[in-house]
Subunit: 381 residues, 5 copies
Amino acid sequence: MRKLRRLPLRLVKPKDDEEDFFHRPGDMPGTIIIDADAPAPIIFLIDYNKTDVVHKQLNTPEECAPYLDKESVTWVDVQGLGSADILERLAKVFDLHPLVLEDVVNVPERPKIEDYDDQLVIISRMVVPKERVCGFYSEQVSLVLGKYYLLTVQEEPEHDCLEGVRSRIDKGKGIIRSSGADYLAYTLLDAIIDGFFPVLELYGDHIEELEEEVIVNPTPKTLQKIYKIKRELLQLRRAIWPQRDAINSLIREGNDLISDEVRIYLRDCYDHAVQVMDMVETYRELASGLMDVYLSAVSNRMNEVMKFLTVMSSIFIPLTFVAGIYGMNFDTEKSPWNMPELQWYWGYPLCLAVMGTIAGGLIFVFWQRGWFENFSKINQK
Amino acid sequence: MRKLRRLPLRLVKPKDDEEDFFHRPGDMPGTIIIDADAPAPIIFLIDYNKTDVVHKQLNTPEECAPYLDKESVTWVDVQGLGSADILERLAKVFDLHPLVLEDVVNVPERPKIEDYDDQLVIISRMVVPKERVCGFYSEQVSLVLGKYYLLTVQEEPEHDCLEGVRSRIDKGKGIIRSSGADYLAYTLLDAIIDGFFPVLELYGDHIEELEEEVIVNPTPKTLQKIYKIKRELLQLRRAIWPQRDAINSLIREGNDLISDEVRIYLRDCYDHAVQVMDMVETYRELASGLMDVYLSAVSNRMNEVMKFLTVMSSIFIPLTFVAGIYGMNFDTEKSPWNMPELQWYWGYPLCLAVMGTIAGGLIFVFWQRGWFENFSKINQK
Amino acid sequence: MRKLRRLPLRLVKPKDDEEDFFHRPGDMPGTIIIDADAPAPIIFLIDYNKTDVVHKQLNTPEECAPYLDKESVTWVDVQGLGSADILERLAKVFDLHPLVLEDVVNVPERPKIEDYDDQLVIISRMVVPKERVCGFYSEQVSLVLGKYYLLTVQEEPEHDCLEGVRSRIDKGKGIIRSSGADYLAYTLLDAIIDGFFPVLELYGDHIEELEEEVIVNPTPKTLQKIYKIKRELLQLRRAIWPQRDAINSLIREGNDLISDEVRIYLRDCYDHAVQVMDMVETYRELASGLMDVYLSAVSNRMNEVMKFLTVMSSIFIPLTFVAGIYGMNFDTEKSPWNMPELQWYWGYPLCLAVMGTIAGGLIFVFWQRGWFENFSKINQK
Amino acid sequence: MRKLRRLPLRLVKPKDDEEDFFHRPGDMPGTIIIDADAPAPIIFLIDYNKTDVVHKQLNTPEECAPYLDKESVTWVDVQGLGSADILERLAKVFDLHPLVLEDVVNVPERPKIEDYDDQLVIISRMVVPKERVCGFYSEQVSLVLGKYYLLTVQEEPEHDCLEGVRSRIDKGKGIIRSSGADYLAYTLLDAIIDGFFPVLELYGDHIEELEEEVIVNPTPKTLQKIYKIKRELLQLRRAIWPQRDAINSLIREGNDLISDEVRIYLRDCYDHAVQVMDMVETYRELASGLMDVYLSAVSNRMNEVMKFLTVMSSIFIPLTFVAGIYGMNFDTEKSPWNMPELQWYWGYPLCLAVMGTIAGGLIFVFWQRGWFENFSKINQK
Amino acid sequence: MRKLRRLPLRLVKPKDDEEDFFHRPGDMPGTIIIDADAPAPIIFLIDYNKTDVVHKQLNTPEECAPYLDKESVTWVDVQGLGSADILERLAKVFDLHPLVLEDVVNVPERPKIEDYDDQLVIISRMVVPKERVCGFYSEQVSLVLGKYYLLTVQEEPEHDCLEGVRSRIDKGKGIIRSSGADYLAYTLLDAIIDGFFPVLELYGDHIEELEEEVIVNPTPKTLQKIYKIKRELLQLRRAIWPQRDAINSLIREGNDLISDEVRIYLRDCYDHAVQVMDMVETYRELASGLMDVYLSAVSNRMNEVMKFLTVMSSIFIPLTFVAGIYGMNFDTEKSPWNMPELQWYWGYPLCLAVMGTIAGGLIFVFWQRGWFENFSKINQK
């Protein structure tokens, strides 16, 4: 049951069951809470322009300060939320509003876009499909976009779907090297949204398997699987819905940090978010439909079981009664009316014939009503 | 199960199960993915004005270049997405934005309208009814409208519902020959939307058949059929809903490429899209209602089975008990109280009479409660 | 099943099952399709002003031309859609846009309002209650309002709820004779909307009957009736919803052909449309509730049947077992331990007493649990 | 069933089943329909200013004419709709638009606000809780607000929740005596909205009772009660929803007859309407939940019944079989293999021991699976 | 049942069952109703600026008058609604509109924001988790914000989640001491909204427990628990929904009393409200899903019970029949055809062999159909 348990909590609280990780009511705004299990932050820096790319792993947040005001695009990627000290120093270097730091650190936050004077903060949620089982890892990615830099903060260093972007920067594919930090932000957002498709693919396949299972061999396990799918799709919906809204408001309301060129690309990104949402909703409806089919299939099975019992009982109960009759001990000598059949020459064969006729008649009636039809097809394991 | 399996995937990924056909997260925007199974593109060109019509099948995309700037209307119809090279050359000839090419090639894309400076891109979805079975082929049709040309790209060369438009151009029926490319675009959109009606017709008929089946003879097959209908209507809804929105935004926001005259026609097209959506929703509600009726019918059947068992058991169990009594071996000689009935002159006939009375009484009770009523009507196959 | 079959199709396609009556994809806009079964059009003309009323049945559409430009109000009422020729000549006389003719003739069209330069086209749907059974006839009524004339086109000559309007014109009741064509259009619309009330009345009564039936004597027939109601209410909703929207847009957006005076009256008409919709929705919820009640009632019945079986079996099975014991043939002479009860003086009476005690105890247990309570009340036919 | 029948009809048609009370399609707008059963109108007049209050019961509508233009506030309260003559004379005195008279008289009308030039017409619906049973009386109250007067028309003289307002006028409590007719209108509206709370209170209590009943002792009666609640809440929703909208539009759009001061009070009234709606919706969801719980409880009960039957049958059927074996009449003398057990010294005791072991084993298995657990708790009446 | 009963009423009426605590229809606006059980109000005053903090418990409302116009921030916190006199004097000191006093005192009021000229009134609802059980205390907190003061009125002195704010004021943490009354109001609102998270945490954990229970061991208790969760989530939704709307309207419409700085913080508070709502909705859907799973699990169980009965009956009924045959008393001496088997040398062993074959065959059939599979897994307690 472990896997089932963890899932709905991922959007609610981090891993440790003992402590409270949500903001305690009455806490100062900007209070950050560090989960003892959280991995220590690792800081990567990529600084590039049309001609050069610098890759670095930084030891202290302060090391990235000199890059921030340069015209080259600086991408600072922090992975892990396990140190209040480092995160606060980072906030200082980037001059983050206390509320921004809170949003970035106190995961899970609802995906959203916040517009500060010279920074645009995008809280988003990234999903990465699990291998071999149908499920996904989910983590928060916060983007802080400045004029010449982009700061991204991920919950943990594993399960990342941004590798493609890094390689495009390295290889200088497309226009990424000649574009600004806003294009980089778009690229990452696009990668995050597109990261939902492989996850949905898994669910699509899983639903198909269940469609067969629910009709061919519905077991209580099937029920659990359907419920699990419904629950995880609910999570996906909660992750994608606000991201769509956020991207939409970014396109509509605009922002000085986002160029018109990039806005066109964001429209494409928005379309994909809508498509993800569409698929999530469709899968949810299919899962609900499966639940109905499951219930009906269970009813059908019970029907078949009942029919079997009824056929067996209905045939043998009258026969047993007839046998019971001739097992009675009425004294045949006291009266010619006391069970004279027992003395007949053809008594026993006649009795068997009567039983055979009763059984045959009942079987005919059942057959005529089609009760035997589904026995072979349905109840087979 | 093949047919069932394919359907929900058609809007998700192309035919091959082994490869991923969705945009990989982190891919460059504009990256196009060619499915190995996709048919090679065939390019048709129709160029017409009031007086002349030219029909041509082109070998290379470049051949259509000379037609594009002429004032005559040029319709380039590409069928099949199986060659990256040809599609990229096509994009060059038509000067398509990389995102447009991606939308056109990386099917399935959600239907939408994108407004580029001098091109209007309409992604739409065409459905064609299957023959003999209740189902449909679904493919993406992308329209790129320029001042004097219209480029359409279809997923595959089969299952096309645009033949009527081609014949109207040939025969010069109506005002199509004297109108511009925008009217042609409208005509195609209208044909695509109207193409939903014959498909819905199929489902309407199928639902009617099921309405009878579900009451007269509900089997597990019926359940599968209802689920299949619900699922395919879900697909139709996903196809028509965004098309309606797209057409509506086209009417409302306007565009230089669309004349006022054509906008009036688009209103009509919009009305039809709404009508399609209405019908889809109605059919979905009917299908949901059918599921309820199915469940009730199964319950009713079980009820009848139970009644039958109860009637049979309730009648014979007391009789068997009576027979059991007189089958006991108490020694009648040891005491006048030990089963004196066995020695009576009328013992056996009396015993049978008692049994008959019990059976008759029970049958009367059952008959009075109306338990026999539905036997003949319902359980009949 | 005929009646059931016809209903959902009325909004989908006309009567003939063999031909397709929907617009074929690719057809020219304005193409009209004539159903072979459609009754031939009959043309009535009423021309009136404050002082005079002229009634006429016309033979050709052209006969109404002289009336159209006169300041008196001219109401041309066409009933039946069975002749392409007449309808096209009519369109010529009234100078209809091809799309209008298509909307008017190719029924069923979704109710809507179209604003052409000097004509206002209202497509609406009229329902007329059936006599004696719960159901309704539904037909499309199209209104084309010009400055001095109103053209109405009905699908068929029967089942009309406009008689009251005609008589008001004749008798000069109210302000109709001194008002313009816009007031006449309002009057007809109002009559059409008010025509929904008697139909809903039928359904209200029918639902009440079913409420009793579903609890007192639920049969599979009941289920069919509930489903039929749900389905027909769905049709009514599809008919009234767009009419409400259409009237609303007419009030809000205004039109030169509609005077402010009449707009106040339209608000009243709009309120009635909303009231109809309210009632339809309420009835739909009641019908859904009935379905739940039905399912529960069937479950309850099965429960009672099961209880009966359980009571019968549980009482007699132990008794039969006891009788079986003393029917065994152990040789009482071989051992004093072999069924000595058979030799007892009070053996048989004691055995019967034991049986009576067992039966009494079980009956007491069942009675205490209240299992006998509902037998008399529920299962009664 | 009487009570059940009446309720849904109250919003549809008045008491008499034989006649049609809805507006006949084609009737002249403004046609009023008098129900033969409707009580004759009684006319009360209260005229007050800061210093004086006049109470009067009027015989003719014309008697109130002199008060209408005086600066003192005049409240004319008409109770009963049983006379076309009086109502039409009233309309003349107050100079009502024919549509207003229709709305006021042809109950039930949907609650709404109509803005005429110098009159504001508010159609609202008043509910009054029934005594001792859970239910309510519902009647239409129409308010016509003029500069110095307020006309209210109630369906019937009984069941009024406006007594508190009258007493406030008499006693001069609060600011009512020094305020205008608009404040009086607000006060009445507020009383009408607040009148929903005691009704909802009844339903809240009733739902609580049912929550216990549905778990402790679900019977078919319970089902009927739940359905009845759902149905009556549907009515309440239909009554309160449009009133909220009407009050909201009054606040937003404003009107010369309503002072800014009173508008603040209306906001409070609006909040209460929203609160009523909230409660109605909550109760509806609770009632739907109850239906689910009921269904589950019935299933649970059937489960217990089945378990009982299964336990009884499973224990005794094998025992009876064993007894049957030794009731066979194989001739023990013909062969030492023919039922030698019958001749054993310990044959019978051994046989009983075997039976006891079988029974004990089965009981152990059932006990281990927890089948005995719920017997005592659940099935108790 | 006590706990269950109390919950839905908390938002409807206070503790006493005998009296009516809602506003009686017709009551004067501003009428306040004091619950006899309500605790007497205790008044706390905190007055602070950058340098000083004054804590005081006041005896009379008038004591706080001197603080109100000073530039230091004055927070007057009233806990308990048990005295009309004190509350009215308080209203006088703070110059409250009668409607404000009514809203504050006549709990429960729907959360909302009212904008008076120089006061901003915020009605909100605070929830505090219960200890050890899954549940919450809910009370109304009203905030009246003036230029230099904030008045808060709580329903009762216990269960407060504002302690964190008080300690921040005392310790001078963050910017609270250097900010105005608007920041204090925001801080309290934020604490109230954040107070929903620990409550939701409880429900999240409880749902997880139920997910296991519903599959492993569904009992009628489980059903009650699911219903209780659904009902309490409904309450939470009713509490958070209007608060979100209120905060949103505060951000959008603005108010002179709220500085731009604080408005940024309110956006954060709004985001948390949305997150709470999201979680409530997700939990509600999970709870609904659980209900479905429960129903299916009960059906599955019944299925297993039925299978057990069927297996037992089907195996032994034919055997008992065979035993019955050879228990018949046909006279073997009258005819060689009368049960000659009884005289055979191997008669009895053969008979037993036949029975064994029948039983074995049936067991094989059941095993093949997988009927034995789920016995061990499912029915275990």
